[in-house]
Symmetry: C2
Subunit: 392 residues, 2 copies
Amino acid sequence: MLKGKMVIGQSGGPTAVINQSLVGAVLAARKEEAITGILGARHGIAGIMKEDFVDLTTQSVEQLETVAQTPAAALGSVRLKPGRAECERVFEAFKKNDVRYFFYIGGNDSAETAHIISEMAKEANYDFCTVHIPKTIDNDLRVTDHCPGFASAARFVALAFMGDDRDSNALPGVKINVVMGRHAGFLTAAAALARQAEGDGPHLIYLPERVFDVEQFKVDVRRVVGEFGRCVVAVSEGVSDADGNPIASSGERDSHGNVQLSGTGALGDCLSAHVKDAFKGEGVRVRADTFGYLQRSFPTIVSPIDAKEAREVGTFGVKHAVSGAGNGSVAIRRVSSVPYASEYFMTELANVAKETTHVADEYINAEGNDVTSAWLDYIRPLVGDLPEIGRL
Amino acid sequence: MLKGKMVIGQSGGPTAVINQSLVGAVLAARKEEAITGILGARHGIAGIMKEDFVDLTTQSVEQLETVAQTPAAALGSVRLKPGRAECERVFEAFKKNDVRYFFYIGGNDSAETAHIISEMAKEANYDFCTVHIPKTIDNDLRVTDHCPGFASAARFVALAFMGDDRDSNALPGVKINVVMGRHAGFLTAAAALARQAEGDGPHLIYLPERVFDVEQFKVDVRRVVGEFGRCVVAVSEGVSDADGNPIASSGERDSHGNVQLSGTGALGDCLSAHVKDAFKGEGVRVRADTFGYLQRSFPTIVSPIDAKEAREVGTFGVKHAVSGAGNGSVAIRRVSSVPYASEYFMTELANVAKETTHVADEYINAEGNDVTSAWLDYIRPLVGDLPEIGRL
């Protein structure tokens, strides 16, 4: 039995349930003889390099359960995508502290980090086990049916559109809502759950999986306004033109070289200007909102299934690690949609690292401006019951 | 006893509980012999002028209760601020349909409309009773302690800041959140409820009641970043410079001649650019979100006290009207803050029409960049229990 300390860290964008995974792993680890100490890394690998650890062996279960209910990484997160040099510093810190288990809660970049470190341990003949615990509101990890964190963000988006569509129904006009998702449109597609009756919005849904044509967009909006006297639009922040250029951006780039899309109203304002121009002189009210960071860390807006699964991927990861079955990434297999049932399994780190996935073609309509019923079948069981819309 | 039909309408920006007032009034009216028919006006006075009514005597209580739980005006709303000509058309429609009671759910413009029509009825010796039922997320009506709709929007803002502050704590930087409120900062001030411990954001709160000085803002942000390594800012969409000019706007004006502030990310992006400039080369991450329309119509984010009071101002208004005590606007008197208790009373329509109120000086700190503890004493009982933030 591999015996030693474990380090657990959180990485990337926060979710509403990322602390469920942390608490699930910590509570499971406390029961394992193989794990001689539980170190929480402050701000992921940035903290590990500085040996900035929190001892997670002593907190009361009550305190941890409160943490589990709190959105956004309680240990702190990090956006650093490490190179080999950083990973070596992490590995040195592990060796120095007799760390034998590493659990990294995050997206594909975190899986990649875990993978690099696991390869280093292998080369150094250092007995070591690394497990990646999946987390991302983007839902873009490969292998797994869906990602913990996604369904709660999707629930926020569905509720937001449900309320905003009633708002638009009360005060008609064109309303454009920009949803997170640079390359994958899963979260934007969740807006479709807001519809309960004929004529409910969102009336148009644009994902980054399809080229965004501003002229076609204006044609689409005009058609919907003609039919319903109003139009609610869901659009991914990452929509791009035929050349792959973002439709609008602030021009700033982050440390990954990505153009800043979140934390700015640029795309919403740009699309709003296009629609205002198209309806010039027709007295059509046009507004745009950008949902922004609220989507990923709103307290109380949590999918019960998401909270449960986020907890259980943490627990499962620890049990797998101490079983001696080796490195890997926890994944979710859907056993049944109605009634919903899932189970967990492990996949190779390399299967999850680097590449991501996208909304499947079968989930997008032919015109590229809506989702299909197959998409609703996929997502509906994940987000939990939604309130019924009352009408007169 | 004044006997005849009643018309009820909803006006202005939607709230999460505006339909509670509608349902409260309708269910109360169904019990009153004096009321011979209940007509719901589609889109407020715009519908009345066209005699576009929904019969509200036949819906099941179950259907109405579902409507009560649904955000945004179920009858449709209107932004029209009527002149005398429009009010005359409304009055004609009332006479034609033997309408003797008019209930208008809305803000100060709605009270003004009700007041004009009540004066016309008096001049024409037409037996008639008009009651204004208060509603506004802005909380800016005079006389009443607070306005139905405000506390639920305040709850949304408090929760949003609570989650976003955890997000900022996990991935530090400067985060600017723009909150609704053109002239009154009540909703922005509600952000302070997100704080549970030393160092929690929002760290700075700017209301339209004080001049916004961009240079001082940058100094404030730098001080907070120096102290906490990050800074979360709450700022009202309506903040203006010493000359009364909005700090940023899209330039568009609405039908009231107001510059468009909501439904655009312009202010957030403008302040974000100022802060980025101030921290140039220092690697500080700066983001801005504009909460937008989600604040006023998010399903499930409802203050229980707000829902109860919104229902009861509707009921109270009807009971007052049929009692023969004359026109008026329903107001809330706070009897006690701890434990919270309130009661209802009537005030003259003229006391609520036209002028609005603002955040009192005692609720704003001397520097004009935060609220006081007196403000928290005022607002805390209204929004309902907030979740506890878990920490490691």
